[in-house]
Subunit: 492 residues, 2 copies
């Protein structure tokens, strides 16, 4: 045993003890008798719980104390893999995906060059091609990259659309272009707005489109607003169609939007961060009909496909444009005189320099489940949401935010406590109903039994948004959620 | 045992077998008789190695095959933790950090709200405060966020500088501002250029500053260029001073640059992605003197501090500006009527929506090493680079790119094979010397013994850039590198 190997021994023991903590945590996560969370307020955790002190110090702690810190960090956290955690679009804990992430962190490398990530770079390339084939682009041609989340993927789409029409902006800035206009649904994700602010368009030049009662963009409204912008002398260049909105789970009509984009020469982006996963399902992929006409697509396997966080792809139909838009040809990283084919180096396409390996867990899950495994998962989640919808649509005390079976797994509803049931519609009822969901949510978190999101939207007061992406969830968990809402909300 | 628990059993077994693969990998990584890499060209890996096929299929593979896939993915990768891997600024494999990353992926949550990441959100807050204290901002006041890498952190700095002076750009776009000018060293990281392109400034409005023989910005050149820009009617708003350039490891003179920024009312950003770690060392932190005068600082613990990838912070002196710049107030995520103090929700400060938990591994390492542990690590790496410098500065066949002890761990040098040693300086020698480093590097990779980076810079032909950030590296590894370069390059 070398000296370093000898020195290594206690830390390897430590690592195995952490694994013990983690596997216990995983087993409990899938056990419904375990709480989803053990809620504490910030000031409580900051003051320090028994034996758990967040403060950093000058002197090292013992490895024994570090193990306690690990245990406590999990103890006071939230079990996002719990079958009754419905709070976010990303839920669940896939063990193969998790193993993939552990391997990724052990490999501890960077996606920017083939040189130091040969296997991962090729996996990314093959997987992106497969995704483009599924989108329906001929022979899976095109380009793409995994990015740190859907917001950055959407930001890429705006950048490359601008580069397509006004490449001189890269060197001369926005001053070189006329007033450029972007369009997106009033119910789309806020990242489009963030991108318009960050990239120098300005949020006022992002025009919000009206939606129908189900939350889908009204194509005629898009066309009218395009014409209006052109009449003012502005230049419409980009439309984002959402496939699966965050709250309603609505799918904008891509084909009709694509017609308008073609007619007026605009870039069509499909934000399928949430809904892209449905492309894996023969039963549900029709909801994205027309996606093959998009110029770019955001698709987050870390949402509907259950891949651990983070895993988001931006896919682009035209080859070379991602590189053209972002390349700066840094000589110290992308030497042209390497011994291998340097077109495999991905770094110059990215707005990042170092880039985390997000592909391996996804690739490994795909190997383990096959395309059919993802399809089964997605069909199952959508079945569960139909079950929930059918169960509550006529149930006393529940009111749907919109009618009709959900397009995605989003089910949006109000719980009406008995005290409000007889009340006439009006300001007083609205005011009181607005407070119901937050109160129930707070009680859920205090009791730690389940978690589900709520929000107001437009003129609608706070309502619950139930979403299902967790492979561990069953009908009994849906039943539990409904009963829990009734139990906690009954006396409000 | 519930049904799910029973179903869980084989995958938990699988996870433990993956752990076995990973711990074997780690042990071998620290063993110098193991190769750094087993190089294959892209086409070789794509054609498929024995038993290892990268293609995805419709049908699932067995867990046994998945284990083989895991083993092979590591086998054909690069051991970035190997004591003789010197190829990047991020090297090494800290076991406590790794354990932290495994825990992070098991928790599988998202940094955007306190609601689902209470412990991690508080750890981030406390750690950022500690970093601001170390920078020297009074009482550690200010703000900050961990971002997916130094390029994004630098992009943040440009965004908030613009917001500080021209907040109306957020809503009205760059058209609302005069022609804005940014400044950075000609040797700074290319992310500043990427940011100027992406954010709509245009790369032509990023003025590059001349550097001295050691690669440090010449302050007089900055002032002259500021005056010139103003005379043209442009508005200089931002200067990036690099603390530790990528190739030379040079530290720009922050105090002198800060004087000019104050005189002309410009934002001072310090890109300490690489050099920020030196703030932890009482011996070396003077190289960043004046950093406390910066408006914002990028600092990547995943580089000089040995934290696993990724871990990068953007720190901001003025409180509230990060939020002001980026907030879009998405109602579905950042409900104001939650039961806890929602100022702890971090998402609206970010350009991302979902954000990976990059803090835990860093926090855990800090606990385990203490501030003094980071200091020892940094001092040791700088000692090693001084050892390398002193060893080769007068050695036959080696020529330094610049004279004087390195400021950081970067040691830049040419290896001159015997066949070139007698040759007079001139185009022919330059042409031949330019090919030496790539050839040696290719042979290194083929033999798998070590890895070190090279690049040309300005009028200088390809030279080696040695950097040391790996805690496992010793003097014997430095000796090995020199001998290996001589062995491989002798007959060129």
């Amino acid at each position: 045993m070398s000296e370093h190997q000898r020195n290594l021994w206690p830390t390897m023991q430590f690592l195995l003890e952490v694994v013990e903590i983690l596997t216990n945590y995983i087993r409990k996560t899938f056990d419904r008798s375990t709480k989803v969370l053990d809620f504490h307020h910030p000031h409580q955790l900051l003051e320090g719980m028994e034996g758990f002190n967040l403060e950093l110090s000058d002197q090292p702690e013992s490895l024994e104390q570090i193990l306690v810190d690990c245990r406590d960090s999990l103890k006071y956290g939230v079990r996002t893999g719990h079958p009754r955690f419905f709070n976010q679009l990303s839920t669940g804990l896939d063990i193969v995906g998790l193993a993939g992430e552990w391997l990724t962190s052990t490999a501890n490398t960077n996606m920017f060059t083939y040189e130091i990530a040969p296997v991962f770079v090729l996996m990314e390339q093959l997987t992106l091609k497969k995704m483009r084939e599924i989108i329906g682009w001929p022979d899976g041609e095109g380009d793409g990259i995994f990015s740190p989340g859907g917001a950055i993927s959407n930001m890429y789409s705006v950048m490359i659309a601008r580069y397509k029409f006004f490449p001189e902006v890269k060197t001369k800035g926005m001053a070189a272009a006329p007033r450029l206009i972007l369009f997106t649904s009033e119910l789309s994700h806020y990242s489009i707005k963030k991108a318009s602010a960050a990239l120098g368009f300005g949020t006022e030049n992002l025009i919000l489109l009206n939606t129908d009662e189900r939350g889908r963009v009204i194509p005629a409204d898009l066309e009218a607003k395009v014409i209006e912008a052109k009449q003012k002398g502005y230049v419409p260049i980009y439309v984002n169609a959402t496939a699966g909105t965050t709250v309603y789970g609505a799918f904008d009509p891509i084909n009709e939007i694509a017609d308008i984009c073609e007619k007026y020469g605009m870039w069509l982006h499909v934000d399928g961060a949430w809904g892209g996963g449905l492309l894996m399902s023969r039963k549900h992929r029709h909801k994205l009909n027309g996606v093959e006409r998009a110029n770019s697509v955001t698709w987050n396997p870390h949402k509907m496909m259950g891949v651990p966080l983070q895993c988001s792809a931006i896919l682009v139909r035209e080859r070379g444009i991602l590189q053209g838009c972002n390349s700066m040809c840094a000589g110290y990283l992308f030497q042209p005189d390497k011994q291998y084919d340097v077109t495999y180096d991905t770094g110059d396409k990215a707005i990042q320099c170092g880039r985390h390996v997000d592909i391996f867990k996804f690739w490994l899950m795909w190997k383990a489940k096959g395309t059919v495994g993802f399809e089964q998962h997605i069909d199952k989640c959508l079945d569960l949401s139909a079950y929930l919808y059918n169960k509550i649509k006529h149930r006393e005390g529940f009111e749907m935010v919109f009618n009709g079976e959900p397009q995605h797994t989003n089910v949006c509803f109000w719980y009406i406590p008995p005290s409000l049931r007889g009340m006439p519609d009006g300001e007083e009822r609205r005011k009181r109903l607005h407070k119901v969901a937050p109160k129930i949510k707070a009680m859920m978190m205090e009791s730690g039994t389940t978690m589900v999101g709520y929000q107001p939207q437009g003129d609608k007061v706070n309502f619950f948004r139930m979403v299902i992406s967790n492979a561990a969830a069953t009908r009994s968990d849906i039943d539990f959620l409904i009963e829990e809402i009734e139990r906690l909300g009954h006396d409000l």
